[in-house]
C-alpha cells in the first residue's frame, strides 16, 4: 500500500506531529495533567477509523470480528474519555471572581 514516497511523507508527518505534540504538551499546566491524560486517551481512540473500515468493508469474517471488538473498545474510550475529561475540567474553579476584598 505505502509506496516509498508515501512512506517518506508519513515519516515527515510523524516527526513534525511529535514535535508539535512536545511543544504543546510542555505548556500544559501540571494542574491539568490528569484531564490531559484522559483527553489524549480519547483523541488516541481515533484509531477507531481503522477499525470502522475493517468492519464496514467486511473483507473476511476474521477481519470483521476483530474490527468489531476494536470499534467497541475505541468507542468506549472516546465516549468515556470525553465525558470524564469534561467532568474533571468543570470542577476546576478559580477563587478570584468570588474573592472578597
Amino acid at each position: 500500500m505505502a509506496s516509498s514516497s508515501n512512506l517518506i511523507d508519513a515519516l515527515f508527518i510523524f516527526v513534525l506531529a511529535g514535535f508539535i505534540g512536545f511543544e504543546v504538551i510542555r505548556r500544559v499546566s501540571p494542574l491539568l495533567h490528569t484531564p490531559l491524560m484522559s483527553l489524549t486517551n480519547a483523541l488516541d481512540a481515533i484509531a477507531v477509523v481503522g477499525a470502522i473500515i475493517l468492519v464496514g468493508e467486511h473483507k473476511s469474517t476474521l477481519a470483521a470480528t476483530l474490527g468489531f471488538i476494536a470499534v467497541v473498545a475505541a468507542t468506549s474510550n472516546i465516549v468515556g474519555g470525553f465525558l470524564i475529561t469534561d467532568r474533571m475540567l468543570r470542577m476546576f474553579k478559580s477563587s478570584r471572581p468570588v474573592a472578597k476584598p
Partner: protein
C-alpha cells in the same frame, strides 16, 4: 476509480485534515484551566468529523454491524466516564488497555488481510504496532488491577527477573524480524502477540504503588506510539498525527514523573524499588515522637497566619478531600491563608491531587506546584501533611544511604510547625523511615485522615468563634 469516488476521497481527506488541526488545538487549549473546556469541544468536533468522514468511505458496505459496535461502545463508555474521581487512576489505566486493544486487533486483522504480499517496511511497523499494543494491553490491565486493589499492590520480584523480561522481548523481536523476512510464516504471528502480552504482565509485576504515576504515563506513551505505527500501516495521516500527539504526551509526562522521583526510565521499569526500601527500613531504632489531639491541632491552626496543606495518596484512600475543604473554609473564614502544596508524584497518577481537591471545590489557584511553594515553607506557620510520606521525607536531601536520596521533596520540615496526620508509626509497605516525624517542630496527629480532619473542623467551629 470513478470521479464520484475520487471526490469522496478528497472530502474525507479534508475532513481528516480539519480533525488533525482540531486535535492540536484541543491540546493547546489544555494549557490553562480557563481555556481547557474549549479543548474538549475541539477534540469532540474533530472526532465527530473524522468518524463521519470515515463512514463516507466508499468501501463500506456493512453499516448494520458498525452501528451495533458503535452503540455497544457507547454503552460501555458512559459508565467509564462517570466513575468517582478517586477511581480515575485505574479508569485511565483501563482505557490505555482499551486503546491498545483496538490497535492490536486492527493490526492483527491487517496482517491476515495483507500477508503474504506485505512490504518489509510495512511488516516492521505492523510488528511494532502489535508488540507495543500487546504489552500495553496486559500492562495496563495489571496496573488497573493493582490500583483497584484486586491484585496485590506489593511489588513482586524474583531472581533473574530482568533477564526473563529481556529474553521475552528479544524472542518477540526475533519473531518480528523473521516475519519481515518471511511474511508467509503466518503461524508465527499469534506467538509474537502472546509473548508481547506475557511481557506486559511481567513488566508490571515488580512495580509498586508509588511508581504508578510514571508507569501510567509510560503506558500512555506506548498506546500513542502503537497508534502512530498503525497510522503507518493504514497509511492514515490523521492516525499518525493523533498517535504522535498522544505518544509525546505520555513520554513527556513520564519524564516529568521520573524526574520528580529522581529516577531514570529503566530504573522505574527494571528497578524493583520495593526490595531496596524494605532493606533500608529494617534496622531502625525506636525514637520518641510528639503527638497532639485534634483540639490542640485546631488551636495551633487557628493561631497561624499561613498554613500549607500537603496532600498525598493517603488523603485519596481515606476520601478525606471534602473534609479538607471544610477545614479550608473554616480557616479561611478566620483569616488564615491556606494553600496546598502539590508534589508531581503525589497520588497514583500525574495531577491526581489536583483533581481530587478540585472535586472538593477548592479553587485551583490555591494549588501550588512544588518548585513554586518550596521557597515559602520557612515563612509558613503550619505545614499540615495529610496522607503524604515519601514526598516530605527530608532524608531525600541529606541521607545519601536513603533509597530516595536525591528525589526532590516538599521542604515541609522548614515550616515553624509541622503536623502530620497518619494512622500509626507503622511505615507501611514502602518501609522508608521518615526522619520528619522525629523533628522537634513536628506534631503527629494519629488517626484516620478523614475522621481527624473532621474533628479539627468541629473544634474550629465549636470553640470560640
Amino acid at each position: 476509480m470513478t470521479a464520484e469516488f475520487a471526490g469522496n476521497q478528497v472530502i474525507i481527506e479534508v475532513l481528516y485534515l480539519i480533525a488533525s488541526v482540531l486535535f492540536i488545538l484541543s491540546l493547546k487549549w489544555m494549557s490553562s484551566p480557563t481555556s481547557a473546556r474549549h479543548g474538549i469541544w475541539a477534540g469532540e468536533a474533530g472526532m465527530l468529523l473524522a468518524i463521519c468522514g470515515t463512514l463516507l468511505h466508499h468501501g463500506i458496505v456493512d453499516y448494520r454491524l458498525l452501528a451495533i459496535a458503535l452503540v455497544l461502545g457507547t454503552i460501555i463508555g458512559i459508565p467509564l466516564g462517570r466513575v468517582a474521581m478517586t477511581a480515575v487512576p485505574q479508569r485511565t489505566a483501563l482505557s490505555h488497555a482499551f486503546g491498545a486493544l483496538c490497535v492490536t486487533l486492527v493490526g492483527s486483522a491487517e496482517f491476515y488481510l495483507k500477508t503474504p504480499n506485505i512490504s518489509p517496511f510495512l511488516m516492521s511497523v505492523l510488528s511494532v504496532e502489535v508488540i507495543l499494543g500487546g504489552l500495553t494491553i496486559t500492562g495496563s490491565l495489571m496496573a488497573a488491577g493493582k490500583l483497584q486493589e484486586v491484585l496485590p499492590q506489593r511489588p513482586l520480584t524474583y531472581k533473574g527477573q530482568n533477564f526473563v523480561n529481556f529474553l521475552l522481548l528479544a524472542v518477540a523481536l526475533a519473531i518480528a524480524v523473521y516475519l519481515v523476512l518471511h511474511p508467509d510464516a503466518r503461524n508465527l504471528f499469534p506467538f509474537m502477540i502472546l509473548i508481547a502480552l506475557a511481557f506486559g504482565v511481567l513488566l508490571i509485576i515488580p512495580i509498586g504503588g508509588a511508581d504508578m504515576p510514571t508507569v501510567i504515563s509510560l503506558l500512555n506513551g506506548y498506546a500513542g506510539l502503537s497508534a502512530a505505527a498503525m497510522g503507518f500501516v493504514l497509511d492514515s495521516k490523521l492516525l499518525i498525527i493523533a498517535g504522535a500527539l498522544d505518544g509525546s504526551s505520555g513520554l513527556i509526562l513520564s519524564i516529568i514523573m521520573s524526574k520528580a522521583m529522581n529516577r531514570s526510565f529503566s530504573n522505574v521499569l527494571f528497578g524493583a524499588f520495593g526490595q531496596v526500601q524494605a532493606a533500608a527500613g529494617a534496622g531502625k531504632e525506636e525514637r520518641p515522637v510528639r503527638s497532639a489531639t485534634a483540639e490542640e491541632a485546631a488551636a495551633i491552626l487557628s493561631a497561624a497566619n499561613k498554613v500549607v496543606v500537603v496532600p498525598g495518596y493517603g488523603m485519596a484512600v481515606a476520601q478525606a478531600q471534602h473534609k479538607v475543604r471544610e477545614l479550608y473554609d473554616a480557616l479561611s473564614k478566620r483569616g488564615v491563608e491556606v494553600r496546598f502544596a502539590i508534589h508531581p508524584v503525589a497520588g497514583r497518577m500525574p495531577g491526581h491531587m489536583n483533581v481530587l481537591l478540585a472535586e472538593a471545590d477548592i479553587p485551583y489557584d490555591r494549588l501550588i506546584e512544588m518548585d513554586e511553594i518550596n521557597g515559602d515553607f520557612p515563612q509558613t506557620d503550619v505545614a499540615l501533611v495529610i496522607g503524604a510520606n515519601d514526598v516530605t521525607n527530608p532524608a531525600a536531601r541529606s541521607d545519601t544511604t536513603s533509597p530516595i536520596y536525591g528525589m526532590p521533596i516538599l521542604d515541609v520540615d522548614k515550616a515553624h510547625t509541622v503536623m502530620v496526620i497518619k494512622r500509626s508509626m507503622n511505615p507501611g509497605f514502602a518501609g522508608i523511615d521518615n526522619p520528619l516525624y522525629y523533628l522537634d517542630n513536628t506534631l503527629m496527629l494519629f488517626g484516620d485522615a478523614k475522621a481527624f480532619v473532621g474533628s479539627i473542623v468541629r473544634e474550629l467551629s465549636g470553640g470560640h468563634g
